[in-house]
Amino acid sequence: MSEEPGGTNVRGESPDAEPVVETDEATITDDAELERTLGLSGGLAIGIGTMIGAGIFVFPGLAGGQVGTAATVSFAIGGVVALLVALPTSELATAMPKSGGGYYFISRGLGTLAGTVIGLSLWFGLVFATAFYLVGLGFYALDALAEVGVTIGASPGAIVSAIAVLSGIGFTVLNVTGTENAAKLQNGIVALLLSMLVAFLGFGLLEALGFVDADTPPGEAADVWEVVPIMSVAALVFTSYLGFAQVATVAGEMKRPGRNLPLAMIGSVVIVTLLYVLTILVATDVFTQDRLLEEGETAMVEVGRQLLGTGGALVIIVGGLLATMSSANASILSTSRAIYGVSKDALLPRWASRINLKYGTPHVALGMAGGPVVVLAATRQVQLLAEVASFLHLIMYGLICVALLAIRRDRPEWYDPDFVVPGGPVIPTLGALASFGLIAFMDPTSIAVGITVIVVTAGWYFYYARDVTLKGAL
């Protein structure tokens, strides 16, 4: 097994591999240094900022509408699965603190075929996820319009699509031309969201426990405490946990990666899991299952109104807009990094990762992210988009766990992680089983779309990159 990636793709390009030295502050290549500039808070902001949009602001209505209070268990299961994957991902990321994230680990652990399939599926998975966040944003914008007195006529659905499409284009253009430091803005938004949520959930919990009374409407809760519905809701809402692994896509830019990567990944999973479970608890306490079903994507707005009046509704609307924007934006950025990762390894043409000197941004990759996002966002298929995104990510998560087992077995000389998952093979094995297992509870249409993507990407490997070798290389 060679230490260097090799071979060429159909265009004659080889993977770009230069020996590097990693320090806590920079990556040092032969002629240049790459500064590590992201701290722990930046990493947490990426993880939490990507995840929080969906789980709190879009899913409570859909999930609570299906199984009532039992949805807390669905979210908790999602959190446990995410944690089982976040631990192995952390070990791999501290051993390979490079851009590319999950793709990188799988291509090095399991070889080029798995790498190509996952690298390209990650691209599409992020595209589906981004489209899903944008549709959520559209629903919140519609509610915001209604709240300020703009009445929408016959076709609210078309308005949602239009808003989703326009913001998709907007974010893409912004990312190509924006040179301001949006990272600080993202950190600020996440901090603001967290404090809003803590205040809101705190009040909601006081109400739920009976300390204060906000006149919640009476009603028999039709909670469905059965395994299969709970699991299928867990599979649906797992989209709320796609984000911790995005921290690994910026691993190359993180200061003290050995410490900050595991903390950011595991920390963001733990924080959002707690918030999600509490949110569902509050939402299903305020409204019964049938009412949540009726309110759909923006049920949380009505929960806010019930608890705190118009002010509560406004807080949730503003929070929902901010959170879905932050998720969509963070995902577009991750998509561009995912494309860079595969293009660097010659699995996509090199021009896909070109940068323009004017703005210093990867305009081609951002376009390859934004273009399909806009198309998908127009469909407004919240559940389908969410599940396909989850499907493609779950395949990657499962394979990350398998890759960890494979790399530990092969023990390449360079493999020296700062963070080691305790318990030997137990956690990665459980993580892989849980990831693949969750897929079984998805809607058949979503599974079919997901499998189609996998087959197409595998076809691409055989056409384009059959001769590239990545396994075992650093």
Partner: protein
């Protein structure tokens, strides 16, 4: 040996003026070629595309420094954060000062500010090494609400003992920044100390940056070193 860090935004076509190169002819120079990327862009992605071009430009610059009589090496960094990069490299090479490049011809007279809470001793030692026996005059400036004339004269004596032609300038009732701005005309370059990091510098930007943009000429900033000055 005294080492000075010269950061240059190399891919933006920035260079170092001949006057500054000559001025630095008596000290060791590390040219720091850097390129700042927006957070959308992994630094590695930029390296892939621009490394060769940037390295060529840096090699040329180092050569020009050598021609001007100094000893120069270079580093190339792709970063999201300029300040962090300059700090890290300055620490690694133990740089006594860093340069903010500006336009100037030959340097005949330096303006050296010892106003404010700066490490006077290290500024003077640096100026001595920089002048290095050449025919370069120094104007020592102390500005503030109630400047201490004694401190200014002591400093001037120290430089005179090293054989440097020194003038003194005491400006009372003005901020160090204003005092410096009023004295800058007739000088070719400024030497000043880096203040201890303060809230004000976070809000208004660092004084040296403001001086550089207001005075057009190059500014040499003697670094604040926590272990020595803190």
């Amino acid at each position: 040996m005294t080492r000075v860090l010269v950061p240059v935004e190399v891919l933006e076509g920035k260079s170092v003026s001949p006057g500054l190169m000559n001025l630095l002819g008596t000290v060791d120079v590390t040219v720091l070629g850097y390129h700042v990327l927006p957070e959308q862009t992994p630094p590695d992605q930029a390296r892939l595309q621009f490394e060769d071009r940037a390295t060529d430009a840096l090699a040329d610059l180092s050569e020009e420094f050598e021609t001007a009589g100094g000893r120069a090496d270079h580093r190339l960094v792709f970063t999201h954060d300029r300040e962090q990069t300059i700090d890290r490299i300055a620490n690694e090479i133990d740089a006594r000062a860093f340069a903010i490049s500006g336009m100037t011809g030959d340097v005949d007279r330096l303006l050296v500010s010892i106003s404010g809470d700066v490490a006077t001793e290290r500024i003077l030692a640096f100026v001595e090494a920089l002048v290095g026996g050449r025919e370069i005059g120094v104007t020592l400036l102390l500005a503030g609400t109630k400047p201490d004339e004694r401190r200014l004269e002591d400093a001037a004596d120290r430089l005179r003992n090293a054989g440097i032609d020194v003038r003194t300038e005491l400006v009372a009732g003005k901020s160090p920044f204003r005092g410096l701005m009023d004295t800058v005309p007739d000088h070719d370059a400024v030497v000043m100390g880096e203040n201890a990091p303060s809230i004000r510098s976070l809000v208004f930007g660092d004084d040296p940056e403001r001086v550089a943009s207001a005075s057009v000429g190059p500014v040499l900033v003697v670094r604040y070193v926590e272990s020595l000055d803190g």
